[in-house]
């Protein structure tokens, strides 16, 4: 079993890494600052389309405030449009199964959840119309990861001391050049491998024993492919990737895991290319990969040592389940091919750990922003230790930056721990818990961790389809997403305004194995220590008392 696991794991890892390096270089070339960018045929088409939309790519020097404003404006349109369409889906077209309007809190939670790239779902996919699934949520599956990508690429350009870019151009070009083509190819592959793609409604069949069975179908493949590629993770059906239509066999399972890893793995390479130090990009990718291997082997350990089919699907086996549930939490996708609530407590511990660190690749864009955040912290801590002014890529990290870094670091634990604490205290929170003992705390903790880290998977036994959970997790979703994004732009805006310090042999190098080690230590110490007590009370106690 272990040999088989290792073989499958390494094949997946090597294929994903190779593809990610290629994609990373491609992003590095075509998303470089305008002045250095190669313009190919697609580039000319893009430029023309953008001009038609009134966007002049040559105006590429938005300030961090301007970039943030444009980003928030576009988000606002999607929020309002999405909320209204979900509220009134019952009276809109493409509704063969007769789905009814969502109530206000479910529509609010769903809109925020999909726009923040989380896709935490407090409804069951079967309750939505095809219009809501493809037009509303399907569009958001493209838009949400792009938001984090644009910020990430602007931050990288800023660190390279170049203009941040033009938000509208970045937003459009990432969808047009990267997301749509890859989605089309793999979407088609998924259909060929058995994932449905039809606008026909649920079909009623007569079973062999003569009963009437209702089979829900839909345009699943279009949803499925971008859900994985964009690290979204929402299910077309209630059971998400465990549902045989979403994930019919091991080949599709493999494609899904590959797609989840692709963009998060490629960004450190793109970073290296744009700042002009491939070595530093590779260093970050290596540290992330090291953490990922440790987490995934841990996950396999917990499942292979306690094999069961409970909450799992036979076609994936223990290995397919272990890999998928580690990757989905590492890359902050949130798709599940087994019910996480029913897995071994130590599997839950790894899942929570992946989401709390949020740098074991992390979601598209958002994950790499967290890596940069930890890199700033590592530089600052080292600076304190050796008594020198901390610099990162020749820019001094001073009071303003450290303040912003501290806020960005403290927001997630605050949302997770305070949210969990309140929910363990108030009646509607406690009422949601469905499993007794320590596992009950894990359920609540998982819900808030998943919301804040913009993952979206859940310990689904939690009775979360009500106003209390919709509203409380909406806060975690919203602030867990936008505060770090805006703060990172602010930090880079401030760094960019400073004079570069000339690099000499005494400068602190951020592309050496030594810095890699310091960086890893920072991630583990700063990221993990905050959560250790609550992890002991939840999954660890659950395991010890089994």
């Amino acid at each position: 079993m272990w040999t088989q696991f290792m073989i499958q794991f390494w094949i997946l890892l090597v294929i994903a890494l190779c593809a990610a390096v290629l994609l990373g270089r491609y992003i590095g070339v075509y998303f470089a600052p305008v002045a250095e960018r190669r313009v190919d045929k697609i580039g000319k088409v893009e430029r023309r389309l953008l001009l038609l939309l009134g966007v002049d790519e040559k105006k590429h020097d938005q300030s961090w405030v301007g970039y943030s404003k444009s980003l928030l404006l576009v988000n606002m349109f999607f929020f309002i449009g999405g909320y209204l369409l979900l509220r009134f889906q019952g009276s809109l077209p493409l509704n063969p199964n007769g789905a009814v309007n969502l109530d206000w809190s479910t529509a609010l939670h769903t809109t925020i959840s999909f726009m923040t790239n989380t896709d935490q779902q407090h409804y069951s996919g079967e309750a939505l119309s095809y219009l809501s699934q493809t037009f509303v949520l399907g569009t958001m599956l493209f838009v949400a990861p792009t938001m984090a990508f644009t910020v990430c690429i602007a931050v990288i350009r800023g660190l390279a001391n170049k203009p941040l870019g033009n938000f509208y151009a970045d937003f459009f070009r990432f969808i047009f050049r990267i997301l749509l083509p890859i989605s089309f190819v793999f979407g088609l592959a998924m259909i060929l491998l058995g994932v449905p793609q039809t606008f026909g409604g649920a079909v009623s069949v007569t079973t062999l024993e003569g009963a009437k069975q209702l089979i829900y179908r839909g345009p699943v493949a279009a949803f499925e492919v971008i859900k994985q590629l964009g690290n979204n993770g929402g299910g077309f059906f209630g059971a998400n990737g465990a549902h045989p239509f979403e994930n019919p066999n091991q080949f599709v399972n493999f494609i899904q895991m590959f797609l989840m890893l692709l963009i998060p793995m490629s960004l450190p390479i793109a970073y290296g290319k744009i700042i002009g130090s491939a070595k530093q990009g590779r260093l970050f990718l290596s540290v992330m990969t090291l953490l990922f291997i440790m987490m995934t082997v841990g996950m396999a350990g917990s499942l292979l040592a306690n094999p069961t089919a409970h909450g799992q699907e036979l076609r994936f086996g223990q290995i397919g389940t272990a890999l998928y549930s580690s990757i989905t939490t590492a890359a902050e996708t949130g798709a599940v091919n087994a019910m996480h609530d029913s897995l071994h407590p130590l599997a839950g511990l790894i899942q929570l750990g992946n989401m709390m660190l949020n740098v074991v690749y992390g979601g598209a864009g958002a994950g790499f922003l967290n890596v940069l955040l930890y890199a700033f912290v590592a530089v600052f801590l080292t600076g304190l230790l050796i008594g020198r002014t901390p610099t990162f890529l020749g820019k001094k990290i001073e009071t303003f930056e450290v303040k912003m870094i501290a806020i960005a670091l403290l927001v997630p634990p605050f949302l997770i721990l305070v949210g969990t604490a309140i929910s363990m205290y108030v009646a509607p929170g406690v009422a949601g818990i469905s499993n007794p003992g320590y596992h009950g705390l894990s359920q609540v903790l998982y819900e808030f961790t998943s919301a804040t880290a913009n993952n979206g998977s859940g310990f689904e036994g939690l009775g979360d389809a009500n106003v209390y959970w919709n509203v409380s997790t909406s806060f975690a979703l919203f602030f867990g997403r936008y505060i770090p994004l805006i703060l990172m732009l602010a930090i880079v805006g401030s760094l960019k305004a400073k004079q570069s310090v000339p690099q000499d042999e005494f400068s602190f190098k951020t592309d050496t194995p030594l810095f890699g080690t310091v960086f890893l230590g920072t991630v583990v110490l700063v990221g993990a220590l905050t959560f250790l007590p609550v992890l002991v009370l939840g999954p660890v106690a659950d395991w010890l008392t089994m």
Partner: protein, 173 residues
């Protein structure tokens, strides 16, 4: 503001309309059966989907895995009981008592619910446990039933219940 509105509308049209429409078109042209949900026809009537479990309760058919949902109604879910929840053990003991053959303990997948509630497979072990009941009910030899199971399982350690039951029906006639 104008830019924001235009870009929003254009991107929505591209991702929300053009992309799913193109994919549907190609899917329906290339593999219509799969794109429609891998539905199975017998005598011109749809009898189920190869990918979706349907409930079997009679003696002459292989039974699927326990499910947390009503498989006839269509919505999917797991039972979400924690591994540490005592209710899980109680339920497993109940199923063991109901379905055991000759007092032997049943394989794991016969006792616990699947992730989706629609797992179309059972383990080969669980199929073999049921072979005796089916052989008696259908007046077949146990060896014939076993052969069918191995044939349907191919190289896997699990079998598709609907296909296996269809094969049973065909072998009789």
């Amino acid at each position: 503001m104008k830019q924001a509105i235009r870009v929003t509308v254009f991107v929505t049209a591209l991702c929300g309309i053009v992309f799913p429409a193109l994919l549907t078109l190609f899917g329906q042209l290339l593999v219509p059966d799969k794109a429609e949900g891998s539905l199975v026809q017998e005598n011109g009537k749809f009898i189920g989907s190869e990918l979706i479990a349907q409930p079997f309760t009679s003696k002459q058919y292989f039974h699927g895995r326990p499910s947390a949902v009503d498989q006839l109604a269509g919505a999917s879910a797991g039972d979400n009981l924690a591994a540490s929840n005592p209710e899980l053990g109680t339920k497993m003991a109940e199923l063991q008592k109901q379905n055991q053959v000759d007092g032997a303990s049943l394989p794991d997948d016969a006792l616990v619910t699947s992730g989706s509630g629609f797992d179309p497979h059972i383990s080969v072990d669980y199929a073999l446990v049921q072979a005796k009941r089916i052989a008696t009910a259908r007046d077949l030899s146990r060896e014939e039933v076993r052969k069918l199971i191995t044939k349907e399982a191919e190289t896997h350690d699990y079998v598709n219940v609907l296909r296996l039951n269809l094969a049973l029906d065909r072998s009789k006639s």
